[in-house]
């Protein structure tokens, strides 16, 4: 199912490109958890990953959502300026934004002209010329690291983390700001050795301002049921305070700021 989606997405995206359209899942005008300040968050449709715990499984398929013109989004952002203050702005999340990276370059370019801060919340799966172009107009990257170990990464997402790590390396080379996001799933991504490995891998990155731990939750489960999909983590509980504290303590050895989202 997955590979088929990816193949088809290539063509679909090319069509969208010409018409200056973005395939959008939903909009949140009071985004307070996806980047600094109050943000207009555009959740785009479509993702290559198929994470076991995905909270928005309805954004995975490339075919859902609604088409929005990018000038419409720029207008929305301009209207929302009084709420942004000095920290806020626009965040593109998803789904996976990189599937529509060329169009997003254009969007970010226009937002920047309006003096609006741009943030990209991404899994970093695609790192090519177009991605690099997009990163030029991205004020902040929030890179989701699903797992530092590639086997576990496969288990969680069905795909490899190699590109994600390359993406991080590239962002580091540009010297521009980046946050890491890490979903802490008991039994899947909370192993001490791997948390240390994650820290060691990134400890010398100067572009990383902070790492956000996102405690796993089951709030998306009802969406899986609605899609008729089996939710495999039914028995996995949210991390308790103790394990959150432990993860925080470990990561604090490597990152200057660790927060819990």
């Amino acid at each position: 199912m997955k590979s088929e989606t990816i193949t088809r997405s290539g063509n679909l995206m090319a069509d969208l490109q010409k018409s200056e359209l973005l395939r959008v899942h939903s909009i949140e005008t009071f985004g307070t958890h996806d980047g600094p300040g109050i943000r207009l968050v555009i959740f785009v449709q479509g993702c290559q990953f198929h994470c076991l715990y995905c909270a928005n499984p309805d954004t995975i398929s490339i075919e859902g959502g609604t088409l929005m013109r990018i000038d419409e989004i720029v207008e929305k952002a301009k209207k929302q300026k009084p709420f942004f203050g000095k920290n806020g702005g626009v965040t593109i999340s998803g789904g996976e934004p990189l599937l529509q990276r060329a169009m997003l370059s254009e969007l970010f370019l226009r937002l920047r002209k309006e003096g609006i801060h741009t943030t990209l919340d991404t899994n970093g799966k695609v790192i090519d010329k177009q991605t690099k172009q997009l990163l030029e107009t991205t004020d902040l990257v929030m890179l989701d690291i699903k797992h530092i170990n590639d086997d576990w990464h496969h288990k969680i997402t069905r795909l490899s983390n190699v590109n994600t790590l390359k993406f991080a390396e590239y962002r580091e080379s540009t010297g521009k700001p980046m946050w890491l996001r890490y979903v802490l799933v008991p039994g899947y991504s909370d192993q001490e050795e791997y948390l240390h490995q994650l820290g060691k891998h990134f400890k010398d990155y100067k572009s990383i301002q902070k790492i956000e731990i996102l405690p796993y939750h089951q709030l998306g489960m009802h969406k899986w049921e609605a899609l008729g999909w089996k939710y495999e983590l039914e028995d996995v509980k949210s991390p308790d305070i103790a394990s959150l504290k432990k993860a925080t303590d470990i990561l604090q050895q490597y990152f200057k700021e660790v927060s819990v989202g």
Binding site: E28, T32, G37, I38, F83, S259
Partner: protein, 746 residues
Amino acid sequence: MKNQTAETKDLIEKKLLNLPIDVKGFVEKNVTPYYGDDSFLEGPTTRTNELWQVCLDAMLKEREKGGCLAIDTETISSITSHKPGYINKELELIVGLQTDELLKRAMKPFGGIRVVEGAVAERGLKVAEEVLNVFKHTSDHNNGVFSAYDDEIKQYRSLGILTGLPDNYARGRIIGDYRRLALYGADELIKAKKRDLKAVTGVLSEHKIRLREEITSQIKALKDMVILGNSYGLQLNRPAASAREAIQWLYMAYLAAVKEQDGAAMSLGNVSNFMDIYIEKDLAAGVITETEAQELVDQFVMKLRMVRHLRPGAYDDIFGGDPTWVTEAIGGQFNDGRTKVTKTSFRFLQTLYNLGASPEPNLTVLWSQDLPEGFKKFCGKVSIDTSSIQYENDDLMRETRGSDDYGIACCVSYQELGKRIQFFGARTNLPKTLLMALNEGREEISGTKVLKDILPLEGEYLDYELVMENFKKSMSQIAEVYSRAMNIIHYMHDRHYYEKAQLALIDSDPGIDMAYGAAGISIIADSLSAIKYAKVKPVRNEDGLTVDFIVEGDYPKFGNDEDSVDEIAAYITKYFSEELAKHACYKNARPTLSLLTITSNVMYGKKTGATPDGRKAGEVFAPGANPMHGRDTNGAVAALSSVAKLDYKDALDGISNTFSIIPKSLGSAREEQIENLTRLLDGYFELGAHHLNVNVLDRETLMDAYENPEKYPQLTIRVSGYAVNFTRLSKAHQMEVITRTFHDSL
């Protein structure tokens, strides 16, 4: 704590005899704006804690007795009717209760003896014969109104087209300038009133005759205040000469008002920076410490929380929770650019920590873009911790209304202090008006013919132009009847239940705003949008009355920052406002309009048939100017932006909006939450919005939502990159949200 200092005495004397009465000038000249943070604040004293415990115990007993602890059925309440009452005399720094016992309710029957009789009977008691006998010889407000109402008004009232009119209860909303008693003392105020009386001379018009009678009764009220003060050992005839006295005098003035009247809402005004002047003087002279200053404010606020009125059960159906709306406006800016924020602004908010959260007094922050950052932050913090603050746009109100010395009448209405008053008029049901426009002028439930010349709408689908034409005709006719009712009501209230204590503290011939109201604007916007942008097919019963509507296709909904529908809401508001303004008002009052329902949106919904937006018969309205539940699907900023498009100039009595959120949805860390909330307020008010009630839900509320999800149809939970309607989650996941929302340690 001493009573007086040389400095305060000096300060007061300089201000005295400097008539005409000018509290605003006194405040402007002597106030000390504060630009710092909340670090100076102190907790409660042992004395305050002990005293508050007595109140808590009494309130517990009150709840156990079904919401009313005791009633004095023998006495007609007046400024001087009761012996002094105390919570605990030893511990009280600020004294005075409405009756001789804490939480004992008094009868104020001049609004309507029958309503009082009913309320007393509901508690298994009986009004004393002596009191009933009085009304064999005189009339009351309720009686007076109904002797003048015509059949049409009565029909509008019984069909629920006009509802909640103050025709059988006291109108309230008038704010006495209670500061005057503290600044001048009763003797000077009486002198000033006597001068005013003398000046009303020449050819005596009806207005002048009435004015002479009114001023005379105000003088009587001022004399009664002195008697009231004497019973507590206070010399209210002279000005207050210390912080404690200033607060005590001011409270006595307010107490006189709530002993005489039981208005639906009796606001306090804007007293904190006035009090601050006296507190600053006493602090500077070393007469009191910060702890003692806070103690005075805590004890004053405690008294305000103990105010009670005798209400019938039916009243609670409309205004749930036995409210008194002792609204105190805090903060804002002077027109000269300085801030009105003082340390006592902080001290008032601090009472929410020292005494715990409470809806009363109704603390209202006047929000300006220019408020000091330290104060903005503290407001954000208090909002998140207590949910007990509402916000109004100070920049907008000063710019539109002029004066910077104002209070908030009831919930949202600007009222210049001591200079203008307001005639309260509840509201009309706009969705019902629309339904009459679709039913040839017949009320949709009873089928009663109400409006004239409303053409039948033929064809399978509703036509936007034809509907608009009918709707406008309907609004015009309703405005005319509404205006008639209001003139009768306020004429009679003046005649039978004149607020002499409050008006004694206001200029003798004040300006008046006639406060009309409308409910259901978001239903109107969505209904008209559905008719315009989708296809709406009315379903009619055998009498041709609409019983349901089938909406085919989608349409833009109010609350998503979509101009196409938001403009409809703004246009209808303007149109109805202009229709109301066509009719002359009693006492030359100036017509204004509010978009406000308080808690009555539930009741309105129950009594209104299905509407063209797809809302079913009996479904609740959104409160005030809020978007309809669940239809704002783009987040809070979009919802707020839609409401902000309603023009304050078309609804000068206020545009109410209630915003509910859980702390986590404001941001992850506490600092972020505070920052984002203040930013949200800045943004909302920068767009020219008027009012926002901020409801930051605590664990207890979420637990209640878990138990009674039907009460929280619009509760949204936000975590990283994800939003969900709380009620759609399974019980187990709701519990997880609750746990998750509140595990904020680490």
